[in-house]
């Protein structure tokens, strides 16, 4: 009973944090080869990054407020023909035991790993954004093309366990994936034209919407692996360090009885005729007019996981200044491989800070900043991958990272 209550509270906290913190797990973690005790590690992160949406606009969605007509117009004008945006949030907690589990491998122990994550991406034409935020009055006499636009949103819980090496900090865990929300929109062909006087609308639409079934609490089931592998390279006389290969949420999930709506139609609408309003005339619904075909399906989907390979700073380095660099790739086609290059400065054993510049992902350049404090039993790290985004409205994203670890 007590265990059940603890579980409920824990899932409640996961859910609450997962829905209030926006995230990604890449606060640089120093490689530490000392033998670890039992640990509880919590990671929270959020990020939002786009190719063309400036922060003065996107902050209205983060902090609320009215988007003025002038801001809508300015934002529309700053869009490229095609744009992308992505974002996510995560809260992850892991417990790493100090108990030996293999006789022949004294450093290996077990761990459990729980997380609540959300990830959303979109690929859209500038005109589509203009249409949504300005209305069609700004497009009379013009066409709005939104072919090849798409959007996807998924939120899921993951729960699992694995093994970790207390010495080199490698770990691998296998997690069950329990999706709670899913939505996907994909438009292969999309174009809407308006005549100058607004008297006629021509629509060409070929696409589909896939959304999770309404009823079950968990909309499907999946599996994924998380891992960290630290690979030392070089020697003390040459360039040396530790390459860290990080994998998160590499796996699949299957949605059960998801609702699929497919559209392949072209419509010219110029208003109803008076006879349509006659009593015996049946007005068609918008869905019927569009020729929406509905069905249920149970598709397999790739999780929005990522792999990052990069050099990390080491805690026992004799250099106060170390380099960090690497590449990160998400398992979705919206995300372009992101490369980063940074410096790590450790003036004191208990304190370090660093900065990195990155390019790619859902947008362009970003400048990151982080700081770590390590005491006897605890470690606190905070950072951002986009410090300019936190300060300037003219930037294209936001990012926040926090990491807490308690050794006992």
């Amino acid at each position: 009973m007590i265990l059940k209550k603890i579980n409920l509270i824990f899932f409640g906290i996961l859910f609450a944090i997962g829905n209030n913190v926006n995230g990604q797990e890449l606060l640089p973690v120093m490689y530490d080869s000392t033998l670890a005790n039992r640990q509880i590690i919590m990671n929270g992160s959020f990020f939002q990054h786009g190719s063309s949406l400036k922060n003065d606009f996107s902050r209205k969605f983060i902090f609320g407020g009215e988007i003025s007509d002038e801001l809508s117009q300015r934002t529309y004008e700053s869009q490229k023909k095609y744009n992308r945006i992505g974002g996510g949030a995560k809260f992850r907690i892991a417990y790493k035991s100090a108990n030996q589990i293999f006789k022949s491998k004294p450093n290996w122990s077990w761990m459990i790993d729980l997380a609540n994550e959300v990830h959303g991406t979109a690929d859209y034409s500038g005109d589509l954004l203009g249409l949504a935020f300005l209305g069609n009055a700004s497009f009379l006499g013009e066409s709005v093309n939104f072919s090849n636009s798409s959007a996807q949103y998924v939120q899921y819980l993951s729960i699992g366990g694995g093994i970790h090496n207390r010495k080199n900090k490698n770990f691998i865990s296998l997690n069950a994936i329990l999706p709670q929300n899913f939505f996907m929109l994909s438009v292969n062909k999309g174009n809407v034209s308006f005549t100058e006087d607004g008297a006629n609308i021509d629509l060409i639409l070929q696409g589909e919407i896939l959304e999770a079934a309404a009823d079950p609490y968990f909309k499907g089931l999946g599996a994924a692996v998380n891992f960290d592998f630290n690979i030392p390279f070089g020697n003390s006389e040459s360039f040396s360090g530790v390459m860290k290969v990080t994998g998160r949420n590499l796996g699949f999930y299957q949605l059960h009885n998801a609702k699929l709506q497919e559209i392949d139609n072209s419509i010219s609408y110029s208003g109803f005729q008076l006879a349509d309003f006659a009593n015996d005339s049946q007005m068609t619904t918008l869905k019927d007019t569009l020729g929406v075909r509905e069905s249920t399906t149970s598709p397999m989907r790739l999780l929005p996981g990522f792999i990052q390979v990069g050099k990390v700073a080491t805690a026992d380095s004799k250099h106060k200044l170390q380099s960090t660099f690497g590449v990160r790739m998400y398992t979705n086609y919206f995300y372009k491989p992101m490369i980063y290059l940074g410096v790590h400065y450790q003036p004191l054993t208990s304190f370090s800070l660093g900065s990195q510049i990155s390019y790619g992902g859902y947008g362009g350049f970003r400048l990151g900043l982080y700081a770590n404090y390590t005491a006897k039993n605890i470690m606190i790290g905070i950072g951002t991958e986009d410090i300019l985004g936190a300060l300037l409205k003219s930037q294209y994203g936001h990012s926040g990272l926090i990491r807490l670890a308690w050794k006992f």
Binding site: N22, V118, N136, I201
Partner: protein
């Protein structure tokens, strides 16, 4: 997700222009469909031929459900028969029980014969039942059924249901001089492949033919002295939307024609024809023939050459008060009439004839120029709507409805909208900024000049807020014509409508 950081919702406004109604009312659409025609001076002539009332005449001749039973017993104590021997072959005559109708011939439009056969002997019997004088495509109604054997107490039974559609019944009997008669013939043979059988005078062979639901489309005879009379109220739904104003019609010339397509003499009487309008004003239609009996002659010819008799009631400038009657713009009409067939009895000597195409009804024939004036003629109609303006995502902030018109009718209109709640109470009036003006005649006097106009219905924030509780919209249109008298309508008369909405939507996330 990000929403947890928010103090306020994210909101933005967007402007949308969407066409709602796009249509044209063209007078030419009604030309050449026996409603309107164009005169040489391009004015419109009403040339209408309409069938107003058609009475169902199949109910004049109603054949009651009738059963015909035919049974046979041998006259000897016993009789042995070889296989395949015929031992019964007899005709019986049966009479349909009509009250006053005397029929010599009838053709069945629909109905069926339900046949039951009883075989009292132990071996199979071959039963042939035929109805002499009941013919379709030159072939007599006949069927043969093999019925399994039985006993006198529990005879073998055969059941059949046959469709009689299209059969003509000669009801004059074997002599050809009588009426209302139907003949039946039963023939029974022993099984040609069975054993010899011995019959006794206790073995009863029986057939029963039940005629059910017979309706005729042709009948000849005397149809009796039949009276129809009724007082009926006809509601004209479209005209019930008129709530005020007046019209002026001129040079009316139309005929109401009583048409008789059966070869039966009749008399009739129209004793009531009243129009009741929106103001409960009653105008009775008058005519010299109304309120007294008039003769309706029988139709002439036969089958394809059948020519119904016609009794016209002419309404023009000197006869009747049709103009006043129409100008009352009644939405309810009360009509009382009586028709009596064969008022003097069987004067046709049994030659009353009903043909498949026979009908008794009232036709309208009109031929007069379309000269209609309107003075504040008010039409009011209500349309149910379900405008979900309490959506949390998108709602109308304000805007306007824009009605662009191009009018070449000599009628103009002022239009008002009213929002009604679920109890049909008015919660907001939306007036237009302009009106549709009546068109003016061109210098050649053969057409009206098109007038383009734009009416704007302003939806302010108060009206937009009320859309959430609006359950219907009442549209009131007040029509007036260019002139009240001699108001001609020309062939180019048309009203092109384009109603678009220009709305500012507020989106909230």
């Amino acid at each position: 997700m990000a929403f947890g950081c928010r103090k306020d919702k994210t909101t933005w406004n967007s402007d949308w222009v969407v066409p709602l109604i796009n249509d044209s009312l063209l007078i030419k659409d009604y030309v050449n469909d026996s409603t309107l025609a164009i005169n040489g001076d391009q004015t419109i002539q009403i040339i209408a031929e309409r069938n107003l009332i058609n009475l169902d005449l199949s109910s004049i001749i109603e054949i009651p459900d009738t059963s015909v039973v035919q049974s046979f017993v041998i006259g000897l104590p016993s009789l042995t028969l070889a296989p395949g021997s015929s031992f019964i072959d007899e005709i019986k005559q049966h009479e349909f029980s009509f009250e006053e109708i005397v029929l010599t011939s009838a053709r069945i439009k629909s109905g069926k014969a339900i046949i039951r056969i009883e075989n009292p002997v132990s071996s199979k019997g071959v039963f042939t039942v035929s109805l002499p004088g009941v013919i379709k495509d030159g072939v007599e109604f006949s069927f043969t059924e093999i019925v399994s054997g039985g006993t006198a107490a529990n005879p073998g039974i055969g059941n059949l249901v046959l469709n009689l559609k299209g059969y003509t019944i000669d009801m004059t009997g074997e002599t050809g001089q009588l009426y209302n008669l139907l003949q039946s013939k039963m023939k029974v043979s022993t099984d040609p492949n069975g054993p010899s059988i011995t019959l006794t005078n206790q073995d009863v062979f029986k057939t029963r033919v039940k005629f059910e639901g017979l309706k005729v489309d042709y009948a000849k005879g005397y149809f009796g002295n039949v009276m129809f009379s009724d007082t009926t109220i006809v509601d004209v739904k479209e005209l019930s939307k008129i709530t005020g104003g007046s019209i002026n019609v001129e040079d009316i010339n139309l005929q109401l024609i009583i048409r008789n397509g059966i070869k039966v003499r009749a008399v009739g009487e129209v004793n009531l024809f009243e129009s009741i309008n929106y103001n409960n004003n009653v105008v009775g239609l008058t005519h010299p023939y109304f309120g007294q009996q008039f003769n309706i002659e029988p139709a002439l010819g036969a089958w394809n050459s059948l020519a119904p008799s016609e009794l016209p009631f002419l309404f023009d400038q000197t006869t009747g008060n049709m103009e006043n009657f129409i100008e009352n713009i009644g939405s309810k009409y009360e009509i009382g009439y009586a028709i009596e067939l064969n008022p003097l009895g069987n004067t046709s000597s049994g030659n009353d004839v009903l043909y498949p195409q026979s009908s008794l009804g009232i036709d309208l024939k009109a031929n007069f120029p379309l000269l209609i004036g309107a003075d504040k003629l008010t039409l009011r109609d209500t349309f149910e709507i379900d405008f979900k303006n309490d959506s949390k995502l998108v709602r109308v902030l304000n805007g306007k409805l824009i009605l662009n018109t191009t009018n070449t009718f000599p009628f103009g209109a002022e239009v008002k909208l009213e929002l009604l709640d679920e109890n049909n109470n008015s919660i907001k009036q939306i007036s237009s900024s302009g009106l549709i003006s009546p068109a003016q005649i061109n210098s050649a006097g053969n057409a009206h000049l098109p007038i383009k106009e734009k009416l704007e219905f302003l939806i302010d924030e108060e009206a937009a807020d009320l859309l959430a509780e609006t359950k219907s919209i009442m549209v009131t249109a007040v029509f007036s014509s260019t002139t009240y008298t001699n108001n001609k309508v020309f062939a180019n008369a048309a009203l092109k409508l384009l109603l678009t909405s220009q709305l500012k939507l507020k989106s909230e996330l």
